[in-house]
């Protein structure tokens, strides 16, 4: 019997169940905590978005600058997702199942974009590609500016989202082992056959989870993109940057209107991750039982 069921049996002997007043107290503390820190800020976003009515909301999210911001955010996601998905799967397999010297160093390296501040991430790319430095100057002279232009925004997004799929997959792959793949090879399967029919089905929940988190982060990235973009309205602003500009102009309804779009994306993200969590936990419980 699992510990989570122990709480239900409140009639058990006193030392194993929590007294009712303790339960009440802890539940209240938790509820108040969540109310103050999570629920009320979310409510503010939606109430602020519709402060001037539905028409104003529509105008805020469909005007030219907003559309440009949505396009650039969309572009960043469309590039970051497939690239980091392929990388994440390869890294998950190589690092989850392989053993070699330097494995932990490589894992730490891949975790680095997750650990360092977004502002530092942005700075890193300004140092590599800014026009004060040789590579950047060359690229800019040849018509491929990176910093203060869209490619820089996309590159910064790819950098900060690189670890997401890999981090999810390494423990999943390590847990599953390589028996099935060896068996498949023994039966004559080639690499792609083995990958699509044996490996991918095993790791698909981990992949899905990583993808959902990746998209959420790519859409919401602010610090790194802020450094790299130069905030040029209509050209290098993503949706979060656009929100910042609107907010600093005291145009709160428009800022919250765009923010409510992003909040909807975030809510879909947590619904998706919750569903994936429940499904994969049910699967694991089914495996344990059999």
């Amino acid at each position: 019997m699992r510990a989570s069921e122990a709480g239900l049996h409140t009639k058990r002997c006193g030392a194993v169940a929590d007294p009712a007043w303790v339960r009440w107290l802890l539940e209240s503390i938790t509820l108040v905590f969540f109310l103050l820190i999570v629920v009320i800020p979310m409510a503010v976003v939606f109430s602020g978005a519709f402060e001037h009515g539905w028409q104003a909301f529509r105008e805020s999210v469909t005007n030219a600058d907003a559309a440009a911001a949505l396009r650039l955010t969309g572009l960043a996601v469309l590039v970051a997702l497939p690239v980091n998905l392929v990388f994440g799967v390869a890294a998950g397999l190589a690092l989850g199942a392989g053993e070699f010297r330097g494995k932990h160093a490589l894992i730490t390296l891949i975790d680095l974009p997750f650990a360092i501040s977004p502002v530092v991430s942005g700075l890193i790319f300004v140092l590599l590609f800014g026009i004060n430095y040789p590579i950047g100057r060359w690229l800019d002279a040849h018509g491929f500016p990176i910093i203060f232009a869209a490619p820089g925004v996309v590159l910064a997004t790819v950098f900060v989202t690189a670890p997401f799929v890999a981090r999810e997959l390494v423990p999943v792959v390590a847990e599953h082992g390589t028996e099935e793949e060896l068996a498949a090879m023994g039966l004559g399967a080639g690499f792609w056959q083995m990958f699509f029919r044996v490996t991918l089905p095993k790791i698909r929940w981990g992949v899905l989870y990583g993808v959902v988190l990746l998209v959420a982060r790519a859409v919401g990235e602010f610090g790194a993109v802020s450094v790299v973009s130069g905030h040029i309205r209509g050209q290098t602003t993503t949706v979060p940057l656009h929100i910042e500009i609107l907010y600093n102009e005291y145009n709160f309804p428009a800022a919250f209107a765009m923010a409510s779009l992003l909040t909807l994306v975030a809510l879909c993200t947590i619904i998706a991750t919750s569903v994936i969590e429940w499904r994969s936990r049910a699967l694991a419980r089914g495996e344990e039982a059999s």
């Binding site: 979310m42 501040s117 082992g177 390589t178 947590i270």
Partner: protein
Amino acid sequence: MALNRSRRGRAGSAYSRIAGARATLGLTITYAALLIAIPVGALIVRAAGLSLAQVWRTVTSPRAVAAYELSFAAAGAAALINAMFGGIAAWVLVRYRFPGRRVLDAMVDLPFALPTAVAGIALTTVYAPNGWIGGPASSLGVRLAYTRIGIVLALVFVGLPFVIRTVQPVLRDLEPELEEAAATLGATRAQAVWRVIIPSLLPAALTGFTLALARAIGEYGSIVFISGNLPMKTEVVTLLIMARLEQYDYAGATAIATVMLGLSFTLLLAVNVLQRWAIGARAQER
């Protein structure tokens, strides 16, 4: 469980016999080198190229020192608050049943999924002197937004999921036999909790605390609106780096950023060590 262990033991040598092992490893290393190692290396190289005197001057200027102190103190306070309330929340979510529990559980992930800019403007609006919480607070004479308290509140929001999500799985896997054994040996509930349950949760709680701390130190988007950016008063390190960049003081920004990079790296190593300790502790219990 034992089956899994032997799988992991044999997997190492087995992986190299699988088709595509070399290719996946090669791809991983190449991509990581190009995208991560080289750019991060560029930062270190640039920092090394600065004159030592210049770096020292920037890194130890009063404004920078004030920023480090504030970043650390605020991040530490927020991580501590999250450790306390997050621990309680994890307990409530795992052990108790009540209507809306699943919704609350899903909500824990919100600060992780929400863009920091959205969190920033939402929190600022709520805690501003005319906000839903800031209003009542200011009538009591307490200012929340544009102060250090506001920064801590924003960091608590941002770090919320970390402790809860690392403690929950450990709590779920905790065997009731431990508590029952404590009871049969004559322990009261309080003793059972304090001496049996909480020590088993300690590695996970510490991991979560360190993760929340690392996140809070590097946080930018949620802070930039609520802090007011007053140098020496409410300016954290990330805001200071941004201020330097806006003045095109790349050297200064690089110096400060390198210090931060070293710190993040140390925290990352600490988290890895803690996680391996936590896994080791759980394996021993089984």
